[in-house]
């Protein structure tokens, strides 16, 4: 399973800059990033090349950090492809909690990071219907 890092972020000017600087100092490469916020705090979610190490660096720097299993799927850049994947999950009764996407030039497809209610089942049904599930290593090294 792909490991995602979640970081609690106070709504303060420069906070995300500080966090990403911590990662830069440790030469951690960020693959994908997503943040949403309420009025006083946010949760920053990132996919990086070395998740366990990066989480440890951040913890050491004093952040509240957790690692979560997410799945990554490769979606062909054609109208209707992503809708198909969503339909498969819906029909299988798997709920999507949140998601974000990124595109890598070499890979050629869009990669979508999904946090779902049941990652095992989601991988199974998607793969069974021919949707490409990306291996963790493939994402980390992308």
């Amino acid at each position: 399973m792909v490991q995602q890092i979640s970081i609690f972020v106070e709504n303060k000017l420069g906070r995300v800059a500080e966090i990403t600087e911590t990662l830069a100092e440790q030469k951690v490469d960020i693959r994908a990033i997503s943040i949403s916020d309420t009025s006083d705090f946010g949760i920053l979610r990132i996919i990086v090349d070395r998740p366990a190490e990066a989480a440890a660096f951040l913890k050491e720097a004093g952040y509240t950090v957790s690692l979560t299993d997410v799945i990554a799927v490769g979606i062909q850049d054609t109208p209707g492809e992503f809708a198909k994947a969503m339909r498969i999950l819906a029909d299988a009764g798997v709920a999507v909690e949140y998601m974000y996407a990124f595109v890598s030039r070499e890979y050629g497809k869009a990669s979508v990071i999904l946090r779902v209610s049941d990652p095992e089942k989601a991988s199974q049904v998607l793969e069974g219907s021919g949707v490409e599930i990306l291996e963790p290593q493939a994402i980390y090294e992308m």
Binding site: S6, I7, F8, V9, E10, S36, T38, D40, F41, I43, G62, Y63, T64, V65, S66, T68, E97, Y98
Partner: protein, 436 residues
């Protein structure tokens, strides 16, 4: 074990006779030697010690307030020539001029006696090694405990406050068994000790004498758990002498006054009338034999209650409850009295958040608003906003039930709230500032 068993266990009758004798002498002493008291007592018609016939006649003596002491800054309340004063202390003075305390040799001797009493009552023994992590200097805490513990025969490590890594190193290397610190600093030391990851066996700590600021039972158990010691509270203030006015015995059911030196009363803080026994109100204390700078009926601003029931430890001196707050740190928010200690009690022990907090009071649209900042420590809740909102809601509801007030709860990053090495300053009142 006792330090001065005869005095500490004397019958109430003998103790009250002793107090009356000392009070009469002290009233006359003040009348004759301190112009401020000459004036005050004269106006009240108390022109000699003989006017005081019974202990309850103390009610005819006017109160002395913090402002009175401030007005007499620095030496207006001296009862002896300066050459008899051997030491000067002063309070932190966060508001205006500091409060000055002047001590004769006899005063210092009495002071170390009362501290030795409370230390032994709490369980200190001559073989203990005590690290004093109060800031040394003008503050009465460090030197007060220092000389009292030295009188017990303990080994003193005068570490002073700050340099936490070194504090922990000395705990281990010197085999320190006792800690003197403010509750907030003790809490911080406990946190650091945990992080260092040394096993409990690397430390010999067994007893903590916490003081100089309030500590809720919940905060205390957290300190005890993290440092592996039993903590007792003690009480005092520069205006009266420093720490040593009262302190808990090992049974921890109230702080025993050193009643042969400090005569306590409880009054209704609004009307100034004496409260019934067992009723809570403002603590008023008269020093019975402090010669350099005596104080009659000092209004401490601390809200507490007193019991005269003898304690199972054998001591007969009155016990005061942990102050539930101070009349001056009490916040009035939307007309509701709020003591930071209530908020602390509600927060300590809640899952997902740390024990540190900060209170910010603002005015929004001419209405008071209380913001409570707490640190998020549980990373498991990062899965969703929902979980964080539920935590925030739980804190909010708990505060609502304790205070009867709506608060704005803000989650902040761990270790982002200030840690205090001396007295904690957790309240930020911005109500007289322009609205943001």
């Amino acid at each position: 074990m006792f330090f001065q068993q005869d005095v500490e266990t004397m019958s109430r009758k003998d103790l009250e006779d002793l107090q009356l004798r000392k009070l009469k002498y002290m009233v006359e002493y003040c009348y004759n030697r301190v112009p401020f008291y000459h004036d005050r007592l004269g106006k009240a018609g108390i022109t000699s010690g003989d006017k005081i016939k019974t202990l309850s006649d103390i009610q005819y003596i006017p109160y002395t307030t913090k402002d009175d002491i401030r007005d007499q800054y620095p030496f207006g309340l001296l009862a002896v020539p300066m050459k008899e004063i051997v030491r000067i202390h002063a309070s932190s003075g966060t508001t205006g001029k500091p409060t000055v305390g002047c001590y004769t040799k006899e005063d210092l001797d009495m002071w170390s006696d009362v501290v030795a009493r409370l230390a032994i009552a709490a369980g200190a023994r001559p073989e203990d090694i005590f690290q004093i992590a109060f800031g040394y200097g003008l503050f009465t805490g460090a030197l007060g405990l220092h000389y009292g513990l030295e009188k017990v025969g303990c080994t003193i490590v005068p570490a002073s406050s700050g340099n936490t890594a070194k504090q922990l190193m000395m705990f281990r290397d010197f085999g320190v068994t006792g800690l003197v610190a403010t509750p907030s600093y003790a809490l911080y030391l406990g946190e650091c000790l945990r992080e260092e990851g040394y096993p409990r066996e690397a430390y010999s700590l067994r007893l903590g004498l916490l003081g100089s600021e309030g500590c809720t039972p919940e905060m205390r158990s957290r300190i005890e758990e993290s440092l592996g010691l039993v903590a007792t509270d003690n009480y005092g203030m520069t205006e009266l002498i420093g720490p040593g006015v009262s302190g808990e015995c090992h049974l921890r059911c109230g702080m025993h006054f050193a009643e042969d030196h400090f005569l306590p009363e409880i009054i209704n803080r609004e009307t100034g009338e004496r409260a019934e026994e067992g009723e809570s109100g403002e603590l008023v204390v008269t020093t019975l034999d402090r010669w350099g700078m005596p104080v009659l009926r000092y209004r401490t601003k601390d809200i507490t209650k007193i019991t005269y029931e003898p304690c199972a430890c054998g001591r007969t001196h009155a016990r005061m409850a942990k102050p539930m707050g101070r009349t001056d740190d009490m916040l009035i928010i939307k007309g509701v009295n709020v003591f930071p200690s209530q908020i602390e009690s509600a927060l300590v022990g809640m899952e997902g958040i740390g024990p540190h907090y900060q209170l910010v009071v603002r005015r929004r649209n001419f209405m008071d608003q209380l913001e409570v900042k707490v640190e998020l420590v549980s990373s498991e809740l990062l899965e969703s906003y929902g979980a964080l909102e539920i935590l925030r809601g739980r804190v909010h509801d708990k505060l609502k039930s304790v205070l009867g007030l709506e608060t704005k709860v803000t989650l902040v990053e761990p270790k982002s709230l200030e840690r205090f090495q001396g007295k904690a300053r957790r309240v930020l009142d911005l109500r007289n500032q322009p609205e943001e």
